[in-house]
């Protein structure tokens, strides 16, 4: 399981400001902290940056490469900016992302090919596709042909099923898990999969986000996920990953997570019998699974009831 550090994201006002003011220290600090936490690569989302795209991208890439030497995942819709980033990247970069929307499909895959970069292929067209079925279809019918056409190797592409927020689009949380599961079947050898994990908790109050993200990650891993753009500073993330990867059943929570993992892997559901209802931590995980499986309506205070 690889983690791409998500913290350098334009949506954070602090990052936006630091980029606007070219505050090296802040950006580098963020990069360093994520690298230190164990991120395998760093995501740089500089937004559309209609005007100064290439310059901003160049600056951010350089600034970060001064202090860390991790691969970078570049996220912008601005083609020129993307190209600048790819040129400057020292390690093999990741282009985030191509979707089946014509303008992105047209531009991003050739760029990735040209600069020998990896590519994240987003299973959506112009609009969000709700069902796993439709997402796989897009992957098969639109994204893959294009990827092969521009000469990218399938091993260099991550398919992203597209994660939607549980606060508002709860019914699609499992669809993404299913999409990952089936994406692993659409080609042989199976393509890699990657998700923007924190999307699942967009709009969720801060204190509740980690648990949702991490629980969801376990479910996605069970479906075969290879990588996630996520918050490497979240300790729980590493802990849950470790438990699953090492199959550490030495703690009650560990056992619960493994049961969850096994259930999802075999397309079943976590049973309430698996949960020690007197342990608040297990109950919280169980409630979160209920939410993610769309069994119980999400509310900001769902852990309280």
């Amino acid at each position: 399981m690889e983690i791409v550090g998500e913290r350098i994201h334009i949506i954070s006002p602090r990052v936006k400001n630091a980029i606007a003011k070219r505050e090296k220290g802040y950006v580098q600090g963020l990069a360093l902290r994520q690298a230190k936490a164990g991120a395998h690569a760093l995501e740089l989302n500089i937004g559309p940056q209609k005007k100064a795209g290439p310059e901003v991208m160049g600056w951010v890439v350089d600034t970060i490469q001064e202090v860390v030497d991790l691969p970078l995942s570049l996220d912008t819709t601005n083609v020129a900016a993307m190209e600048t980033g790819l040129k400057r990247a020292k390690k093999r970069a990741i282009v985030n992302s191509a979707s089946a929307a014509p303008e992105r499909l047209e531009t991003m895959p050739p760029l990735a090919a040209k600069y020998n970069a990896k590519l994240i292929a987003l299973c959506m067209g112009k609009n969000i596709l709700p069902t796993a079925e439709e997402r796989i279809n897009v992957a098969l019918e639109v994204l893959m042909p294009r990827i092969l056409e521009v000469g990218l190797s399938m091993e260099d592409v991550y398919f992203d099923p597209l994660i939607l927020t549980v606060s508002g689009m709860q019914e699609y949380a499992l669809q993404a898990v299913e999409t990952v599961r089936f994406l692993k079947q659409v080609s042989d050898p199976p393509p890699k999969t990657m998700v923007g994990l924190s999307n699942v908790s967009n709009g969720v109050p801060h204190e509740g986000r980690s648990l949702i993200n991490c629980t969801y990650l376990v479910m996605l891993m069970a479906a075969g996920l290879d990588a996630a753009i996520a918050d490497p500073l979240d300790k729980r993330l590493w802990e849950f990953m470790r438990i699953v990867e090492e199959r550490d059943d030495s703690t009650p929570v560990g056992r619960l997570l493994l049961r969850l993992y096994d259930a999802i892997a075999s397309m079943e559901e976590l049973s309430p019998d698996d949960v020690d209802m007197s342990d608040p931590e297990q109950v919280a995980i169980y409630k979160t699974v209920q939410i993610l499986e769309n069994k119980v309506i999400y509310a900001d205070s769902y852990l309280r009831v």
């Binding site: 508002g168 769902y302 309280r304």
Partner: protein, 324 residues
């Protein structure tokens, strides 16, 4: 040989909570009768698979002063009673209301600011004019709602009135007033299942028992987003039946207000010809908005026009009757 038809019956584990509005003399109020909502263990009107304890109820909305901005059709329908909330309440009862919803205004009929004292006297008058349980909604401005509804709560102590509306930005004072004087509240959220549940949790957190809480997921009118309200209500009701305890509140919606805000109901002139006869269309607008929501799970519908009330009441009666 025909295959044997086995009627599928869903097993629901949840049940909508019963909530009683109003209190009789024995119970500490002055209502002639109380109205209990909720209690269902299946989807609307599906007698065959569960218990349906109480039919949906109609509340007629009256205001504490003549609502000049209302459609002329409504003003005409309530002519003679519309200047006097007590008379209006009485007439609403005659025209088939199960409940009276009194909406308070910012200003009184003279254009002067409404005050707790004025509101108390209005509430007192309405309470004496009708024996039906009462719902009282504030004018919709935070400060004024709080000021007036506290007075209402005090004046109507013991009557188990529904105070409204509680919204996520303003519910604490209204809930506190309800706590203090034994009333109920209406928890309103903008057409979203998650928010609906969240506000119920927050209000319950303040200590208000769940059997004093109505869930108002709000709705759009026919043609103005009813599909959102409709689906949100269906989802909430399904969640309730599946055992999600914080969605098991009876549902209140205000189709009358929504429908009469629509141009189709409000305006008679200068509209496209295919819209047909104004009054007929307007009444249908309110009626069909209401009946669609009733079939999606509404337990109380707040309406405005007496003719729509008559039509909806008839429809409810027939829906409620097995095989009707």
């Amino acid at each position: 040989m025909a295959e044997k038809v086995e009627i599928p019956v869903q097993k629901w584990s949840g049940r909508v909570r019963e909530v009683t509005l109003g209190a009789t003399r024995e119970e500490g109020g002055t209502r002639a009768r109380t109205v209990t909502l909720g209690g269902e263990t299946t989807l609307p009107f599906l007698h065959f698979e569960g218990k349906l304890s109480h039919p949906p109820r109609i509340a007629i909305e009256i205001q504490d002063k003549k609502p000049e901005a209302w459609s002329p059709l409504l003003l005409k329908a309530w002519e003679g009673a519309i200047d006097d909330p007590a008379a209006w309440a009485k007439k609403a009862e005659e025209r088939g209301a199960d409940l009276i919803l009194l909406r308070l205004s910012l200003d009184d009929a003279q254009g002067e600011e409404n005050t707790p004292e004025k509101v108390k006297s209005t509430v007192r008058k309405v309470l004496s004019a009708t024996g039906l349980p009462l719902l009282v909604f504030g004018p919709g401005q935070v400060d004024k709602d709080n000021e007036l509804l506290v007075a209402v709560a005090e004046e109507a102590a013991g009557e188990r009135v529904v105070l409204g509306v509680c919204e996520d930005k303003n519910y604490r004072t209204i809930v506190a007033a309800a706590l203090a004087h034994g009333h109920l509240v209406d928890s309103r959220t903008p057409m979203d299942v998650n928010l609906a549940k969240q506000l119920i949790i927050l209000i319950h957190d303040m200590g208000l028992p769940l059997d004093r809480l109505l869930m108002d997921p709000s709705t759009g009118a026919l043609g103005y987003g009813i599909e959102y309200g409709y689906s949100v209500m269906e989802r909430l009701r399904l969640a309730a039946l599946q055992g999600d305890t914080m969605t098991q509140q009876p549902i209140l919606v205000t189709p009358g207000e929504e429908a009469w805000r629509a141009k189709e109901a409000k305006v008679g002139e200068g509209v496209p010809e295919p819209w047909g006869d104004w009054e007929e269309r307007a009444i249908m607008w309110e009626t069909m908005t209401t009946t669609a929501l009733i079939e999606a799970g509404a337990d109380v519908v707040v309406m405005r026009h007496p003719e729509s009330v008559r039509l909806v009441k008839e429809a409810i009666d027939k829906l409620w009757m097995k095989g009707g």
